[in-house]
């Protein structure tokens, strides 16, 4: 029982990382019809940011919080640059954006390999996140608990911003109907850039968080990006609520299957589960009602 509970907890913490990654993907996909495969490399950039910041600031605790902020900005700026140079030319050609950003991802991976070397690097975990705490007889890793809380805080801020600020209202308007939003005097260009900054920034934050549970290598983004896209598909486009449920469900499902079989079988079964799920809800968990035929 204890093993199952701790496995559940691991699932939740994997789910929270997937959530941080999928939120950005889902926002940009839903709003602009852009599938950003380079998102995985923004995660990697976040991880290496944490590594670089730690070279400058020796105190692991301070450096973690500084890296979270710097990582957000690094990811965000990379996203905006990508959007402004390439993606703004190819709205509503989602398949092509997928391939173009895959190419960008390949280049970024090689850049990281040339700068930091192919072997993985490690970032020291702050003192207060080492070790475990026990809650109701279940042993929880402190660093994983921190990631879970971080994800919840990020989602809460994002949800509040989308709901209550005027910027959030503009983003939601563009997601729901770009043409109508433009007619109403919303600069969709500016909204796109803001969205891309936030979405890519979240990838950077996820990258920093990943350094707490593992080492950083140029291909770190690759191992999460496919799962994150599955979250987006299962959750429904541009829907925070869908992404939250799907990410945690996928993380927990994976962890529970892994507990009874093996990690590789779990990957395959999760994939099959998503295909079956799509038979019931082809548009994903949460979808905006439209009159469009597709």
């Amino acid at each position: 029982m204890d093993v199952l509970a701790s496995q559940l907890f691991t699932g939740l913490s994997i789910g929270s990382i997937l959530l941080l990654i999928a939120l950005g993907l889902s926002l940009t996909f839903g709003q602009m019809g852009v599938i950003n495969m380079a998102h995985g490399e923004f995660i990697m950039a976040g991880s290496y940011t944490a590594f670089v910041v730690q070279q400058v600031i020796s105190s692991a605790g301070v450096s973690l919080f500084v890296s979270l902020i710097v990582g957000f900005c690094v990811g965000g700026v990379m996203g905006v640059v990508l959007e402004a140079t390439l993606l703004k030319r190819m709205y509503h050609r989602p398949l092509d954006t997928l391939l173009v950003t895959f190419g960008v991802g390949l280049i970024l991976q090689q850049v990281a390999r040339d700068i930091f070397g192919a072997p993985a690097v490690n970032v020291a975990t702050p003192e207060f996140l080492r070790g475990n705490i026990e809650v109701l007889g279940v042993v929880l890793t402190k660093s994983r608990l921190f990631i879970l809380i971080l994800a919840i805080v990020c989602v809460a801020i994002l949800a509040a911003a989308l709901k209550y600020t005027s910027m959030g209202r503009r983003i939601r308007a563009v997601v729901q109907n770009r043409d109508l939003a433009e007619v109403s005097g919303i600069s969709s260009r500016r909204t796109d850039i803001t969205t891309f900054f936030i979405g890519s920034g979240l990838a950077g934050v996820a990258g920093v968080a990943l350094t707490l549970i593992g080492s950083t290598s140029p291909t770190i983004g690759q191992s999460y990006i496919v799962d994150a896209f599955l979250v987006v598909i299962a959750g429904g486009l541009g829907q925070i609520r869908g992404a939250v449920i799907a990410a945690f469900a996928l993380g927990v499902l994976h962890a529970v299957i892994e507990y009874s079989t093996t990690a590789s079988i779990a990957k395959v079964l999760v994939f099959v589960a998503i295909i079956i799920f799509l038979q019931v809800r082809p548009q994903g968990l949460v979808s905006v009602k439209t009159r469009s035929l597709a």
Partner: protein, 335 residues
């Protein structure tokens, strides 16, 4: 040219290499049909390629073991791994006929099942691309985990014979090349017939205006399924030829990166044409082999840049340049 000039000019080694490129070209023909004509970006052709390749590899491994130490012997990597008995799913591959039959049927069946699950529920284009990619990722991870039964991340290698022919013999290597070239030709002819038929027109119609086709009384899902299944069959055949020609199959050859790498040749050559994907695939594979030997990191940059430039700025590929010129000439002729 493939049949006369290449064997005469190239050394045995180069000819073998060209044979490998031809296998990629066969995959590319299928992708051209599914993606170029049908609008289905399939990022998981590595799965079908891998299925064909692994099935062929399992048969060759069993045949080798039988020659070496009699009937019922285990392949060498299994003995090293401490496996006692032959895993059940290896048993059918003792028969060459059953192996060929399964290579021709299992990957198309998988494509049919997956396609039914996706197209029938009208799951849209980008979703399909991502799902096919997730399949490739899961497949590669599954293969890596099968250390004792499928060679794990080392894959399956060291084959001596192929249906009774010794692979070391240069004559047999040439024969393999001719088989690959012949297969490519047949595959291209069949695909050409498909593209030019009434079905081919329907496929393009589904790509451009799926709803209109639905209103005309057709089921777009069925039309897409045919193209996807055919593409899977071509990939499987290519994989089955890849193994005797190259002599090894590993999870890296079938994973996400390999699957997307198939796409780039098709994109460069021109996804909507028949010949474009073939030439593109061969050119890219050739460039990769020559460049990555000397400058491994430069090739990654080049590959990334190719994706960005071709897809972003020349979506029709090289072929579109020729098409443009032809159209221009026609216009001049009219005026």
């Amino acid at each position: 040219m493939l049949f006369v000039v290449a064997p005469a000019v190239l050394s045995d080694f180069r000819l073998n290499l060209l044979g490998k490129f031809l296998c990629f070209a066969i995959v590319a023909v299928g992708i051209g049909l599914a993606w170029g004509r049908g609008g289905m970006l399939t990022l998981g052709q590595g799965v079908f390629f891998g299925l064909g390749a692994y099935m062929m590899a399992m048969h060759m491994k069993l045949a080798d073991a039988e020659i070496r130490s009699g009937a019922g012997a285990l392949p060498d990597f299994m003995q090293l791994g401490g496996q006692r008995d032959l895993p059940g799913f290896w048993l059918p591959f003792t028969s060459p006929f059953a192996t060929l039959l399964m290579i021709m049927t299992i990957p198309p069946l998988l494509a049919l099942l997956l396609g039914m699950g996706i197209f029938k529920r009208r799951v849209k284009g980008a979703y399909f691309a991502i799902l096919s990619q997730a399949l490739a990722a899961a497949f590669a991870i599954l293969l890596i985990s099968q250390q004792n039964t499928l060679g794990g991340s080392n894959g399956i290698s060291y084959f001596r014979t192929w249906f009774g022919f010794t692979l070391n013999d240069p004559v047999n290597k040439q024969m393999l090349y001719f088989i690959a070239a012949g297969t490519l030709l047949v595959v291209m002819l069949i695909t050409r017939q498909l593209m030019n038929s009434r079905y081919g027109e329907l496929l393009v119609a589904v790509r451009d205006q799926e709803e209109r086709v639905r209103f005309l009384g057709y089921d777009p899902a069925n039309i897409k399924l045919v193209a996807y299944v055919v593409a899977a069959l071509w990939a499987s055949i290519a994989g089955a030829l890849f193994v005797p020609i190259v002599g090894i199959i590993t999870p890296q050859d079938v994973g996400v990166l390999a699957s997307i790498a198939f796409i780039i040749g098709v994109a460069i050559g021109g996804r909507t044409t028949l010949l474009g994907p073939v030439l593109g695939a061969i050119a890219v594979a050739w460039a990769q082999t020559t460049l990555s030997e000397q400058f491994p990191s430069a090739w990654t940059y080049a590959q990334g840049a190719l994706f960005v430039l071709v897809v972003g700025f020349l979506p029709g590929g090289i072929a579109s340049l020729f098409l443009l010129r032809r159209r221009k000439k026609q216009k001049e002729g009219i005026s």
